[in-house]
Subunit: 250 residues, 3 copies
């Protein structure tokens, strides 16, 4: 365990084995950090808030929280959480394993996030969002929730497994992005979508099968489903399963 | 008064009664913080700058400035300012009472903001913006000011009372958004607008009366003016006035 | 030299003459800061990373790094770097002289930036971007790089000298923005462009010569090339060269 002398750690926090905590970081009372986790400088973990209803902030093992990140109490993350810098995560965020959250991303809380979800920088996840497994969200994408803001009606979005939301897209309140859908850059999309299709534009239209997009690596193979050609950072057992699926589908 | 031992507070700053200042926060010389205010950790208040012309930063009473926020000297906020995390506010920002500024928002200074204005996360308010009362600004909205950047011509935008700017809209230089206007998500809008109308698209077009949008709460009542159904967080006297107006208009 | 007592400076870092380092700032081992530079509070310089391959972070002389900024090791900046607050700069960023990087901007590294480039707030520069000289990039612009994300194909964008990218535009992977091009606000642009032209919309179309845009200062002179009417902050020898070019072109 390596805790910098300038860090401020509550004696009520539960810190696992082999946890490293950087300079000027603050860990409040209601925090559980599992083993082998790195918390970089200037982080504040476990900000208290009545909306957390007393629930702890739980950070899974083997996580890496980069500098200047703020987490409220009342959220739970599986093992291998990796954040960029300056993320903000409010209460009642439930995320699975291997969640990667990009620099400056802002999770408003009260939402569910599956396993192996990766967001790039500056992604905004509104309250009541439900994000599946293996989802990719690119910079400046906003998941909204209020169909006629401001109001008391909350219609969080649903994002299916393997979906990809490209740069600077707005996902409108109540949108249901199906499994394997690709939303093009700078789109504005709402409503219901069909599996494995490409949507693009503002307002977004269905363009065709995402698999019509070809890889620009000379192979001219379909670029989607992306797991047929991209597996960097996923565990070996998952990669093998994807390879098996692909060979069966050919 | 509760000032954390690691905070660095200038002896020239004026700190009111019952003010709480968090760890690692810096308060510079030219700052006035009124009573009953909370300043969270890692804030820096009163950054000096020649453009401030020696004017102080004034934070009204009962305010709450969340962590990692940066305020320059030379701006004034009425009572009950509430910020999210990591806001940046430059000099010569004049805001009324009950201003709420979302996480990561960036006010460029030299602008006026009315009473009861609320911005969500990551809102950018350019110099020379004039924002009325009871305005709502949603995530990733940018208020611009230069009609042909870069240039020395500054045409700040005007936002009328009760206007709503939805997610990821660009308000073009010199735009005049009238009272009660609703700008849809992912729009790009300039020029003059008509009161209480809905504008949407890029470039934005006038779609019709904002009141044509119906509440998705089963009531099918008009969603706008929003104050006819939404009043969370506003003081009782204002809510009563809104109720009275509404009953007179029916 | 003025180093705040709370700053944490590695004895292996190389700090020039007359360098000022603010409170709670961290300077790691592999950092070279040249003379007459200001580093504000809460900065972290020289974050180590295996992708930096042991290269130092080099900050040119007469620079000013504003608070809460994060720089990895392995990047080089010429003299007179000026940043806003809370910028993040990853490894292998090579920038020329007089680079200005706005508040909350996020450089993903592995990119080249010319001389006298200015970005406004919240600009995202993806890996493998190549930005020329005298380029302006306005708020919430994203330079992308992956033509079918996620994938292993990287096609960084190229931005020519004197180009202007207006607010909230997406520059698609592999886009080649030619010298003097103006991309309008809220555009989405890819492919090849022609010199000195205006592009606007999503998807962006060629509208005509950028010089058709007239200055809104009463003169009705062309607003582009911008260097014919705007030279604030550029050195005298460059301004004289621009004036000479202009008089020869008339």
């Amino acid at each position: 365990m390596s805790i910098h002398s300038t860090a401020i750690i509550s004696e009520h926090a539960t810190i696992g084995k082999n946890v490293s905590i950087g300079a000027f970081t603050i860990i409040h009372d209601n925090v559980v950090i599992h083993d082998d986790t790195i918390v970089e400088p200037y982080c504040e973990l476990g900000v208290s808030n009545h909306l957390s209803e007393g629930k702890a902030l739980v950070i899974g093992s083997n996580s890496h929280i980069r500098s200047r990140s703020t987490f409220y109490e009342g959220s739970t993350f599986g093992p291998r959480l990796i954040t960029g810098h300056s993320v903000t995560v409010r209460e009642k965020t439930e995320a699975g394993e291997n969640f990667q959250l990009g620099t400056l991303s802002d999770i408003q809380g009260h939402c569910k996030i599956g396993n192996f979800v990766r967001t790039h920088s500056n992604v905004h996840i509104g309250q009541h969002s439900e994000v599946g497994d293996y989802v990719w969200i690119f910079p400046y994408v906003v998941l909204t929730n209020d169909p006629h803001p401001p109001s008391n009606v909350m219609k969080g979005v649903k994002i299916g497994n393997f979906a990809v939301l490209a740069t600077m897209s707005v996902i409108l309140p109540g949108a249901n992005i199906s499994e394997g859908v690709f939303v093009g850059a700078h789109s504005c999309i709402g409503g219901v979508t069909e599996k494995d299709m490409l949507y693009s534009g503002s307002p977004a239209k269905q363009i065709g099968l995402a698999s019509k997009i070809k890889l620009k690596d000379g192979s001219r193979k379909p670029a989607y489903p992306w797991r047929n050609h991209f597996n960097r950072g996923y565990p070996q057992d998952i990669i093998e399963q994807w390879n098996k699926e692909q060979s069966e589908n050919v």
